[in-house]
């Protein structure tokens, strides 16, 4: 039962160029990033190391740097860059200027809703 669960997060303009913004989806915080090249990505907004808010991190070369202790994560896969740790990631895209994520892929339990 892994049906897509498309969630609309609103206008992409809410996310400043080259930065992140956190969204609360069903009580879970998701960090959305918008690179200067125009790509969007979505990962869990909680660093596994010490719960750092990843949406506040600096991005570049497809990575985000956690603001608390500098742990880095790949924006598309959520994999930690130099340690064996990872965060969940979600497909993200833009349709008519609106930002969407697929919330189902890594959270199958929500499909029940």
């Amino acid at each position: 039962m892994n049906k897509p669960f498309k969630v609309k997060l609103g206008s992409i303009e809410a996310v400043p160029m080259g930065q992140g913004l956190s969204f609360s989806v069903e009580g879970e915080e998701i960090a959305i990033f918008r690179s200067r090249a125009g790509e969007v990505s979505a990962i869990e907004n909680k660093c596994p190391h010490a719960n750092g808010p990843l949406a506040e991190g600096i991005i570049g070369e497809g990575k985000v740097v956690c603001p608390l202790h500098g742990h880095q994560f790949d924006l598309s896969t959520g994999k930690g860059c130099d340690r064996n740790e990872s965060v969940r990631s979600f497909p993200a895209w833009i349709e008519n200027g609106e930002l969407y994520i697929d919330y189902s892929t890594t959270s199958p339990e929500l499909v029940v809703l």
Partner: protein
Amino acid sequence: MKRRLVVIGNGMAGARAVEEILKRDPEAFDILMFGAEPYGNYNRILLSNVLNQTQSPSEIFLNTLEWYQENNITLHVGMKVTHIDRVSKKVFALKLSAEDIPYNKAIQGIDGDHFVEVPYDELIIATGSRPFVPRIKGSELPGVFLFRTIEDCDQIADYAKGCQKAVVIGGGLLGLEAARGLMTHDLEVSVIEAADQLMPSQLDLESANLLERAMGAMGLRVFTKTFTSQIVAKDGRVSRLIFKDGGILETDIVVISAGIVPMTEVAEKSGLKTNKGILCDDQMRTEDPHIFAVGECIEHRGLTYGLVEPIWQQVGVMADILTGVNSETRYVGSKTGTKLKVMGVDLASMGEKETDENDDEVLVYRDPNRGIYKKLIVRENKIHGAILLGDTGLSDSLMQLFMNEKELPENRGEILFGSIDGSKLLDAGDLPDSAQICGCNGVCKGEIVSAIENGNCSSVAAVGAKTKAGMGCGSCRGFIAQVIESVVGEVSYDASEHYYVPGIPFEKSQLVREIRSNGLKSVSVVLATLGGGQEDPTTKTGLASLLKTLWPKEYEDERDARFINDRVHANIQKDGTFSVVPRIIGGVTTPEELLRIAQAAVKYKAKMVKFTGGQRIDLLGIKKEDLPNIWKDIGLPSGHAYTKAFRTVKSCVGTDFCRFGLGDSISLAKEIEMRFQGVEAPHKVKMAVTGCPRNCAEALVKDVGVVAIEGGQWEIYIGGAAGSTIRKGDLLCTVDNPQAVIQYTSRFLEYYREHAKYLERTYGFVERIGIDLLKGILIDDNMGICLNLESKMQEAVDAYKDPWKEAEDPVYPFQFDGPQLIEVLQEAENNG
């Protein structure tokens, strides 16, 4: 007992000779110098700048009178040496009267009381040259001037005030310089040259014609193949020239600049052999083994020289001999080249200008439309001569290839236009140690290499501070960089260690140069231009800090390049909340401010209220979305406790209440903090001002610490630390008023901002540069940058804006917002 050294002549050659001798052995001689001009020595090369008013006389002095004092040199100025008694080894000199022209052959000096007699063990003749005056009737008339000394410039400028037309006799290098100077006095200027072209010793006919056209376009009239037979005056002032062919030219002033002749009278009268100049051997000795001669007064292997580079070389050899450093060394003559700008036309010339040898290759490139002419004479695969007019971009490289007799690339086009693949025509690393890199200050490669190896100089500026190389016209700086590369490259280190930020392969000074020269004003543009399109995230904050320093007003701020603290102007805590530290200037607050802070702490449920190490109040555990409101409620500016910037000035109560206070530390602390608040730096900067040496404000362990001492004085310490590293600050200087504290602090902070690596605290920076070097740069201003440092700091101060003002006007939507709440159910239905 020290040997007695007497130097006749206090010009560039004489003074340089003494410098070189002192450099080799400061204790070898008791030194006495005679100078005919009434002051210390000056850079005669820059004389035309005095005439055209771009420099004042004081700016072209090389050695001040203090220099002579400091080095225990006895200097007799305004004296003419009449003769040398070589048997008793004595020099005789007479005082000149104020009106006497130093190079006038006829002057005798005042006899009697002003007679000086000096014994010597070794003697140096460096009398230089005098202007050559062609046989022209009337050349002594009022309004006719020579162009050789500072006095000449003054008199010409003075006389020119009442004139409309001017004539320069002599179309050589100096003549054209004089013409340029006269044009700045709004005169209609003509140049008279006896040869059939301008600059006959440097240019061939074709390039000379091109130059003449360019000069004509600027309003200068040139008469070649013209001989002046008489200068005529009317009513006691010069009025016209009469030429040999009968032609007449009206003029109000005449400047004669027809070349130079060596001054040899002293040598002649003392029985030394002279020809065109005083005859010298390869060790700069005259026929008397205790009498040496250097500079424009000599003839060596049949040649006389009128440029500085040969003088530097001669003087170096002579100093080696005199001090016994190297008794085998020889001067074998100089290859000469000149590079100059004549009235805005770039020109370089070296070696021969023509050739008759059939085996020589002659390469010529003409672009008359742009006024460009390049000619190269190649003999045995080496440059034998070159003329570059209008485009001298390659002249420094060609000059080195020529001077050092380097083999040329097979593709001759590369010597005319540079190489197509961008590789260097010449690598200074390949030059011999004897190669002169800096012509202005006569610094050879060996000295630069030694400064790099033994003096830890790894930047062009550091090499300059140590050796003076690159501190003249600056055109050799590229070569200095190449030498540094070649030397430091050999000790094999990872260059990226020295990168300012990891993502861009430049150390800070190179990066600064690239950013400035390309006008890069935002982090994204720097990354796109210099970072190869890569966006290394750890690179951005360092670049943002540097750009804000380089372009205080024009910096294009991109918030994604900032750390979260600098996006929301508060310090992120482990639980994702923030701390708020308002600015409390000098650590002095009021009950009203405390009340507002207390009320805000209650209203926004601060989890902790704490005094910081810098005497401030910290409200911890504030939610991001509350930041704008708490700032408004508190009503104080940001205390910048979250950022790499100037932070706080810790103080003690000083003279206000303390029984021991010597200085008003509170007022000074406030003034310093008001001035520097929020100014960005490579790392945080913490300061303290303390009112007496009991040092209650702990000034000795601050980045900058100021301590009041007896006598109304203040000591400034820099590079102190008391965090993860403990370091007592180094005393930068002691000053006698608070304004001087501000001034020197400005210099130091700006120098730190411009030269420290990103995240390098002052304790590391001061230790790396060294306090002695810093004193030289910041106190003695030996690099001449202090004014610039002060004005750069002023710009940064002027650009200060309280970031907490963004409470009223966020720079992007949701700047201070928490997570955006999303209703998912509707979408779920759509898809479900």
